[in-house]
Amino acid sequence: MSKPERNRDRDSEATFGEYGGQYVPEALMPAVQELEDAYERYVLENEDGFMDEFRDRMRDFGGRPTPLQRADRLSDRYDREIYLKREDLLHGGAHKLNNALGQVLLAKYMGKERIIAETGAGQHGTATAMAAAHLDMPCEIYMGRTDINRQRPNVYRMRMNGAEVNPVTAGSGTLKEAINETMRDWATTVERTHYVIGSIVGPHPFPKLVRDFQSVIGREARDQIREKAGRLPDSVLACAGGGSNTMGTFHEFVPDEGVKLYAVEAGGSSLEIDEENALAPNSATLSTGTDGVLHGAMTKLLQSGDGQIMESHSVSAGLDYAGVGPELSYLVDTGRVTPVSVGDDAALNGFHRLSNLEGIIPALETSHALGYLEENYEELGDLVVVNASGRGDKDLETVLEETEKRDLEAAPDVEVFDQ
């Protein structure tokens, strides 16, 4: 089965309005253009049956399709129909495999011999390590030192799958620094190495390539909701850091103008920017950012007036990024996507609430979408789809620590530890 016909002109464009582009060092330009060519041939035109093999592997290795589940108790709580797209059930426990497997397979088709990737929460790193093991490719993952410390189980999983994990100590030791260091590796080894970027960020064609691999989420969800509820939803919610699960969920719904699309960002501890210390205590780039160039693309950024990129913050490592995919910036400016945010506390309550009511432990990233649902369900219409982008096992240490610091209404009583 080949991919439906697409307008080549639209997909070959390097930009979304004024966003996107290819702002990379000269040494990387030939590789970026080689990737553009591979994207058009293998992904858009299914040359050599690439997309067929990708879909087969996502079914057999990845476990696609994932279910769309009616969340019964949330539906009762909010007195409307709430459905969860269960990407947490994908192999590896998050949507990340959709992109990682697609890109590692593409690297094989391109004749590359080595895989590198950055990771924030470790979900993209683990997905890339799994895909590389599955497809027998050597793999190195760059991860910030802070993230290594707060996502230890994922570090161990990557090592178990045979990947090298390279700690990055620069700056705050999170995703931004990991991307910098991966780009430096790529600039050195570009001739035989493919950089599996983890979100819809970076120079063209990455934002479109990653979106296309992730768009299976929304394609399935759109079919599933029509089958189960007999119509399209009123609202679709997805958390947004770099934006890969967001765009993956939204892409198929963008032409459905009656469906409201909410990108839920990390409000962190505050939306106010601390200009003096170049610190944004949030990762709400779509809600509060300004236009600039970072990591290869023009997009919205958390930056100082001078153009220095700020350190961002979120209790969720996977959302903790000062940039965002250029396509989301564009869809926000055109009004198609509504950017909203919830803070650390609401996300932690969302985490506990879904665990307690539905028996699903969600990722802290996903928990932001659930936090928004709790606070704003009345505005979302009668039929709501939330992308459950990942599972929360990786976050247990963080959640325990952060819950102890707070008085959270949805948190369980853990006095059992003190007895």
Partner: protein, 292 residues
Amino acid sequence: MSEIEAAIRENHPALITYITAGDPSLEDTKAYVEALDRGGADLIELGLPFSEPIAEGPTIQAAINRALDAGTTPEGFFELVDDLETEAPLLVMTYYNMLLQYGPSEAQRASDSRAVEPRDKPDVRPFVERAAEVGLSGLIVPDLPAEEADPLRTACDDHGLDLVFIVAPTTEGERLDRIMSQVSGFAYVQARLGTTGARADVSNATHDSLTRLEQYDVPKAVGFGVSEGDHAAEIIEAGADGVIVGSALVDLIAEHGEGDAPAADALEAKAAELKRGARRGGGVDVPEPEQP
């Protein structure tokens, strides 16, 4: 011929030096630039620090961090340049976002009767205008490939500034033609794949790149990894018009620390060593200086 091109052609073989402005302070940078000028640098690149320097290796990353920690701002940088009187023309090397975001501050806008509305889209022109005003001769923007450079090329042309492009070991064919048609001042030949940083040898890629560039009538200067007079000699012998040295100088600054006069002396001596090497490679007989 632009100031930069003339500085290379008239001082052939040329020495181009890089240091990061504000490392460890803008006052120190002033003394260091003057020392490099005395030591024989024919062109001086000043790095305007950006928080995400993806083209730099560890040495210059550390210098940029020191400069940012010292509070270096674009306006402070421009004031430093305005203050400098050097024989060697000055270039700014920085990342594209720094150009896009530069503009009058909110406070200046408020107090300026000619104040314009805040820009809703970033624009490179205020940066280029200010660069020309303080006497910079050109720009190098390592994350701006020729494909995205039209707005900056136009702004530079309007203000008589050179825009230097980097030619990588991977740059070939149509892309090379495109870059060479847009470049002005000189072509920055990246000696090897990877990031900036002092190396112990001259890479083979340097020779291949210089061969590919032979047909273009633009001065060629080689950087990335050049750290010694002998490298400079070898590179000039291979056909380059100039050598670019950065990390080796930044290392000297880091070794000496803040406000230390010997750092300026060390930079001057290093520049002299590199210039002698370059001239030796160009077939100019240079006597070694007398040992004290």
